[in-house]
Amino acid sequence: MIFHVIKYTIISNLRDIKSIVSYIVFPIILIGILGSALSLVFEPGQLPEIKAGIVMNDQGGLAEILQDNLTEGELNDIIAVKEFDSLEDAKTAIKNDEIEFFYEIPEGIDDREPLEKVEVKLWTSNTSSIQSTVGEIVLDTNLNAFNTIDALANNESMLRSYEYRNYIVNETISSKENRPGAIGFYSVTMMVMALIYGSAIAAKEYELSMHGDIGNRLQVTSISTTALLLAKVLSSVILVFLQGIIVFLVSKFAFNANWGDNFSLVILTIFLGALMSVLFGIAICVIVGNPERIGGLLTVLIPVMTFISGGFTSTAIGGILAKITPNYQLQNTILAIVYDYGSDRVQGGLLSIMAIILVLLAITIIFGRRRRA
């Protein structure tokens, strides 16, 4: 009889167009809208390569060090510096829009007296640009460092040379490959929202099996209440799991969303999410006792929970409130799986979801028994 109930529950829900639109189509549309509209928020800005020049009027050791600092290393990634033979050539290059700016290294850097000033010039076009500002910042930074070392060398009679040391430890948090873009992010959070909508389906099925006219009709048949409830929970889990899989597949193939490589783990998490969501809906029903309006209430509350858990904005805005939403743990675990945030986070997330499932199951059993008593 349990399979009989599951069969007809699934058939009737698949024909409920209003619910399908709310629980599946709506999240898919939101992936498209939010993924397109907010893509710039998620994509790191690409600074175009800056074309610059340098005119070396001094060929001494310190001038060469300064030249190296201005033109080599990581700066090469953003500034391409071309050496010009004369000041006039460099000026012509600016006029012809071949470069944005150039550095002019003066003569006599090595030969100057202690504390004697020499000027390094930055030549730019008369139209201010972000590229010129970048050049100014780079030059300022280098000259400050150069002056500091020069001053130390003079004061302590040290040799007028220094060794460039990088004291900044640069650790990558995420690379281009494992940082979610807008479509990828919203595919996860909207799929989670679709899963959490399952709590409304579960509340409706609980109402239909335990209360109301149809519930009464089912309860006067030969199926026991426990078997009926179990059948309704299983059918809800199947339906919600299907919802999650549909959103997953549509986002993957229609929006080309990144779901990582570990599909089996993603699908397992979707299943756990479906179970958690169904138990969440039923737990609320057994606690409140009057499930008549719970389904409608959840339909309104779920987008709100998605919002405060950071599902729409990428940042949880509800503090502790965000963390107690069913969305939070689920979406963070799936993001950790898809974007490879480390096995510790994935395991921790999955264990947390399973713990929540057990707590919800305990609540359902305890309150359910009290209700029946």
């Binding site: 009889m1 009989h4 109930v5 007809y8 058939i11 009737s12 829900n13 024909r15 409920d16 006219d213 149809i214 009464n216 009709r217 089912l218 309860q219 006067v220 048949t221 030969s222 199926i223 026991s224």
Partner: protein, 317 residues
């Protein structure tokens, strides 16, 4: 002698301070149609819900075929022989009529060919087989009621509990439903029929229990209930013209069995003891005095009068 298939003994049920059933007792014999008659709030639905196990009685015993309906395991066994037609339309809107019956039939343990045959039989019985593929949303109110009934009898129950099955239906559908109940009963189904329409109960039921405020106020056959409360009958006569000679009133009053005569213009009411068969004599006296009449009506005592007599209030108050 018919077998007692349902025994309700001193059953009580309260909702907080409201005592919905105050020690209800009744026996139902195989093949009977038992009518539960009473106003809204009399406790009819509560009694039916206690019988089918939707409600647990606070005290008392309920037995069906020696199965204790207060025991969960025995209740489930009894439910296989019990069909329920609830007062509300209890149908799944997203399923067709056929699927609704299949769904409910399967929950009574029917499977495969047996289930399909039973569903076909039930839908034919309520004349909805041709519309089996339609969902309830496409049905009229009367058709929904009929489908509601089909779902209740798809597993061919021995006892059918019908809780106000004609509420809100058109006269044509009501007649259809009443005919169906008669037919089911003729085929051997025992029926408990709850209603606040006395005409339905009067027309259908062999055994009537009149309820009010959670208890039985009268019980018996229709004729025994009528006899119990009133031994007079009223003959209402509309005269062609007002009475010229008041002597005719004295003449009618002197007929054996007549207890009172009232005249108001062309309206004449004669109250007589029941069973005197003095109807013809009254007509003859009018003829003697050349008093023509346009209509004559023997006002029968109804279950309404029984209820009024027992409770001091009208059934539809």
């Amino acid at each position: 002698m018919s077998e007692v298939i349902l025994a309700v003994n001193d059953v009580t049920k309260s909702y907080g301070d409201n005592k919905a059933l105050k020690g209800m007792s009744l026996e139902l014999k195989s093949g009977e149609i038992l009518g539960l008659l009473g106003p809204n709030g009399a406790g009819k639905s509560t009694l039916i819900n206690c019988i089918c196990g939707l409600l647990k009685p606070d005290s008392g015993n309920l037995k069906m075929f020696d199965l204790d309906l207060k025991d969960d395991r025995q209740l489930i066994e009894a439910r296989a022989k019990m069909g329920v037609v609830p007062q509300e339309i209890a149908l799944v809107e997203e399923l067709s009529a056929y699927e609704n019956c299949m769904y409910i039939g399967g929950l009574y343990g029917l499977k495969g060919g047996e289930l399909k045959d039973s569903v076909e039989e039930a839908l034919n019985f309520v004349d909805l087989w041709d519309r089996r593929k339609d969902r309830p949303g496409k049905y009229s109110g009367g058709m929904k009621r009929r489908l509601n009934i089909a779902c209740g009898l798809v597993h061919k129950p021995t006892l059918l509990l019908m809780d106000e099955p004609t509420v809100g239906v058109d006269p044509q559908s009501r007649n259809y439903i009443l005919e169906s109940v008669r037919q089911l009963n003729d085929e051997g189904t025992t029926v408990i029929y709850s209603s606040h329409y006395m005409e339905e109960v009067e027309a259908l039921c062999d055994h009537i229990v009149i309820m009010d405020l959670g208890e039985t106020v009268a019980e018996g056959t229709f004729s025994s209930l009528i006899a119990e409360v009133n031994d007079t009958e009223t003959i209402n006569i509309s005269l062609a013209k007002p009475i010229d000679d008041t002597k005719v009133l004295a003449e009618i009053d002197s007929i054996p069995g007549v207890t009172n005569v009232e005249n108001n213009g062309t309206e004449l009411s004669v109250i007589s003891e029941r069973g005197n068969n003095n109807f013809n004599e009254i007509i003859a006296k009018l003829g003697e005095f050349k008093q023509d009449f346009t209509s004559i009506d023997l006002a029968r005592v109804s279950l309404e009068d029984v209820f009024l007599d027992k409770t001091g209030k009208k059934l539809r108050d």
